[in-house]
C-alpha cells in the first residue's frame, strides 16, 4: 500500500540539516510574458466547416484539417494557405513526426496514418477510433480514443496497446522533454497528467492542472486541444479561450478567443515557432507571441540513445 525508506539518520538539533526546499513560490507566469502589446489574432483563412489539428513542421509551416470537408491544408510562414490532401476520411488530430511525415487521426476509416510532404499516405494502424495524437521524437505515438475512453500507445516498432483508461479523453500533449503526458476531458475542471515510462506506460496520474476557468454560461470548460512552449507553459483551448498554465499546474491566465465561435486547437508555428496558430470553427488565425514552441521532432537529433 505504501512504503517508506527511513534513512537511518538521527540528526541532533546541533547537527547539520540541509533544507533543500524553498518556501518561495515557483516563477510566476503571467500572460504579459506571452502576449505582445498591440498584437492581436490575425485571420488567415475562413469558409471552412470545422478546423482542427494544427501541426507545425520543421520549416514552421502549419498543417490543419477541415474535418467535415475531408481536406488538409498547409499554411506557409507568410500565412498563405494551400490544399495539402483530399479525401481524408474526417481526419482530426495531426502532428509531424521525427521523420518529417504528418501523422493523423483518420477516424472515418478507423486508422492512424502518416503523409509524406508530397502527399503519399501510409496506414500506421487500423481498427481504432481516435481524436488527437502526439508523436514522440523517437517516432512513438500516443492517441486518444474518446469513444472507448482510452489512450493508446504505438511503439516505434508499431506495437499498439492501451496505456490509460477510466478517462473521457479528448486532446493530448506532452511536456517539451517528453516525460509527462497531459490529457484533456471536455467536462472536467482539471487536466489529467501522467508520467511517461520508458516503455510508453502511463503512471502516477493526477488532476495536476486546474481548476480551469468557466464561461459564465457554462458548467464545463469544454477543454480540447493543447500545445506547450519552450518554458513548459501549457495552453489548452476551452469555451472561454486559450487557458495558459505554468509547469506547476497553476493557471497563468486566459488568452481571449479570436471570435465568438469554437476554438478547438492551437500550436506554435512560423519560421521561429513564435506564432500561436488556432483552429476556430470555420476560421484559422495566428498571433505573434514573446515565446516559442518546441516541436518534439527537434529533439530527435539531440538525444543520445
Amino acid at each position: 500500500m505504501r512504503r517508506c525508506f527511513v534513512v537511518a539518520n538521527v540528526v541532533f538539533l546541533c547537527g547539520i540539516i540541509v533544507a533543500k526546499v524553498s518556501p518561495l513560490p515557483a516563477q510566476d507566469m503571467a500572460l504579459s510574458q506571452v502576449l505582445v502589446d498591440g498584437e492581436d489574432w490575425q485571420l488567415l483563412g475562413e469558409g471552412y466547416k470545422f478546423t482542427e489539428g494544427p501541426a507545425v513542421d520543421r520549416q514552421g509551416h502549419v498543417y490543419f484539417t477541415d474535418i467535415p470537408n475531408n481536406v488538409i491544408y498547409v499554411i506557409d510562414t507568410d500565412g498563405a494557405i494551400v490544399l495539402f490532401a483530399e479525401n481524408t476520411a474526417n481526419t482530426n488530430g495531426l502532428m509531424v513526426g521525427p521523420d518529417d511525415r504528418i501523422y493523423g487521426c483518420r477516424n472515418g476509416d478507423k486508422q492512424i496514418v502518416a503523409y509524406t510532404t508530397d502527399g503519399a499516405m501510409e496506414v500506421i494502424v487500423e481498427g481504432v477510433t481516435s481524436n488527437d495524437l502526439v508523436v514522440t521524437s523517437k517516432g512513438a505515438i500516443f492517441f486518444t480514443d474518446p469513444s472507448n475512453g482510452q489512450v493508446y500507445y504505438i511503439s516505434p516498432q508499431r506495437e499498439m496497446r492501451v496505456v490509460a483508461n477510466e478517462i473521457h479523453p479528448n486532446g493530448v500533449i506532452m511536456w517539451p522533454d517528453e516525460g509527462t503526458l497531459v490529457v484533456t476531458e471536455r467536462d472536467s475542471l482539471h487536466l489529467w497528467t501522467y508520467r511517461i515510462e520508458s516503455d510508453g506506460s502511463l503512471t502516477n496520474r493526477e488532476r495536476y492542472y486546474g481548476p480551469l476557468q468557466l464561461r459564465s454560461d457554462s458548467k464545463t470548460p469544454g477543454s480540447d486541444g493543447m500545445t506547450v512552449d519552450r518554458d513548459f507553459r501549457l495552453y489548452v483551448t476551452t469555451r472561454l479561450g486559450l487557458q495558459m498554465f505554468d509547469p506547476t499546474g497553476r493557471l497563468g491566465g486566459t488568452i481571449a478567443k479570436p471570435h465568438n465561435g469554437p476554438m478547438a486547437n492551437a500550436c506554435f508555428g512560423g519560421k521561429d515557432f513564435d506564432y500561436l496558430y488556432a483552429t476556430c470553427g470555420d476560421k484559422v488565425y495566428r498571433r505573434k507571441t514573446k515565446v516559442t514552441g518546441v516541436p518534439y521532432f527537434l529533439r530527435a537529433g539531440e538525444k543520445k540513445e
Binding site: C4, L13, A19, D177, E206
Partner: protein
C-alpha cells in the same frame, strides 16, 4: 508582539512627516530572532529523524523528505500533541528563519507549549523517468488545491505511519498544522476540510489568493457555520501583488471574515515581504498563542 508600530505605519500612510519619523526608528522588515529561537544552555534538546516517504495512495508516485522531531520530554505512556509543518525542510533547519525545533525545545521546557511531536514534510515530487526530464513538482497541486486530498494524505498516510513509532494524540484540539505561503493556505484547508482532526492553524504569509481558487475562503467563512478552528495569521504589508492576487489584502480579508464569523483568531500584520523573516521572528509568540489552551489545562 511588535505589531503596534506596523499598525501605525498603515494608518498614517498619507502623513509624510510621521511616516518619516516611523522610518527613522524602524527599517522595513527588520525582524530578528529572539532568545526563544536560539539554543539555550540547560534546555533539553529533542531529536530529529529524517526519512523519505513514497505515497502510493493519495498522491501516487510522489516522493518527499520528512523529519520527525521528538521533544526530550516525550513519554511513550502519554499521547503527545502533534504539529505538522509544510515545506518542513525550511522549518526544521536549525540555522534557518524559523528554527521550529529550537523554539519547541525552549517553549516545551518552559511549559509554554505542550509536549508536541513535530512532523516536517516536504511537498511531493514525481521523479522523472529520464535524467534529462523535469520531475513533476507537486507542491502547488498539494498545497493550493481546495479539496480534502492533502488532509487525507496526512490522516491516511502520514499520521498512521508516525503513530507506529510514537504515541500520538487523537484529540483534534491537540493537533496543529503550520505552513508558509501556499503551505499556509494548505494548513487552513486541512482544518477547514477536517476540523474533527485538526483545529489549530498557523499561517505565515498565507496564499489566500487565486492560485487555485483560494481567494474564496473569506466568502466561504462568512457564510458557513463556524468551525471549531483556532487560527493565527501572520502577514506583511510588502508581501506579493501579482497575477494570483494581493497577499496583504487577501490576509486582511481572511482576518475580517474570521472576525465576522466569530473565530478564535489572531492576525499580525507586519511590514515584511514574501519571506519567513517576520513569521520566524514571531514563531515563539505564534506557538504560545496557538497552544495556550493546552498549557493552561495541563
Amino acid at each position: 508582539m511588535n505589531s503596534n508600530r506596523h499598525t501605525i505605519h498603515v494608518a498614517i500612510l498619507g502623513l509624510a512627516m510621521l511616516t518619516l519619523k516611523a522610518n527613522s526608528a524602524y527599517a522595513i522588515d527588520d525582524y530578528t530572532l529572539g532568545p526563544d529561537s536560539i539554543v539555550q544552555e540547560g534546555v533539553p534538546q529533542g531529536t530529529v529523524t529524517q526519512g523519505q516517504w513514497t505515497s502510493e495512495k493519495i498522491f501516487p508516485g510522489t516522493v518527499r523528505d520528512y523529519w520527525i522531531y521528538v521533544p526530550a520530554q516525550y513519554n511513550a505512556d502519554k499521547p503527545a500533541c502533534v504539529m505538522v509543518f509544510q515545506d518542513g525542510g525550511s522549518y526544521v533547519n536549525p540555522e534557518g528563519q524559523q528554527r521550529a525545533t529550537v523554539v519547541m525545545d525552549n517553549l516545551i521546557h518552559k511549559g509554554e507549549m505542550p509536549v508536541t511531536i513535530g512532523i516536517f514534510l516536504s511537498p511531493g515530487v514525481v521523479p522523472a523517468t529520464e535524467p534529462d526530464q523535469k520531475p513533476r513538482n507537486n507542491r502547488s497541486f498539494e498545497y493550493d488545491t481546495l479539496s480534502d486530498q492533502y488532509a487525507k494524505f496526512l490522516l491516511e498516510e502520514i499520521l498512521p505511519f508516525v503513530g507506529e513509532s510514537y504515541n500520538l494524540t487523537e484529540d483534534p484540539d491537540e493537533r496543529a498544522i503550520c505552513g508558509i505561503s501556499s503551505g499556509g493556505i494548505c494548513s487552513w484547508t486541512v482544518a477547514w476540510e477536517h476540523p474533527e482532526a485538526f483545529r489549530k492553524v498557523l499561517s505565515q504569509i498565507g496564499s489566500f489568493t487565486n492560485i487555485r481558487g483560494g481567494h474564496v475562503y473569506p466568502a466561504l467563512i462568512r457564510k458557513t457555520e463556524r468551525k471549531p478552528i483556532r487560527v493565527f495569521l501572520q502577514e506583511g504589508s510588502n508581501d506579493l501583488d501579482n497575477l494570483h492576487g494581493n497577499w496583504p489584502l487577501a490576509n486582511q480579508q481572511m482576518a475580517a471574515a474570521l472576525n465576522f464569523a466569530g473565530y478564535d483568531y489572531e492576525f499580525v500584520m507586519g511590514d515584511g515581504a514574501h519571506s519567513g523573516k517576520h513569521g520566524g521572528a514571531i514563531l515563539p509568540e505564534s506557538l504560545r498563542w496557538l497552544w495556550k489552551d493546552r498549557v493552561e489545562e495541563k
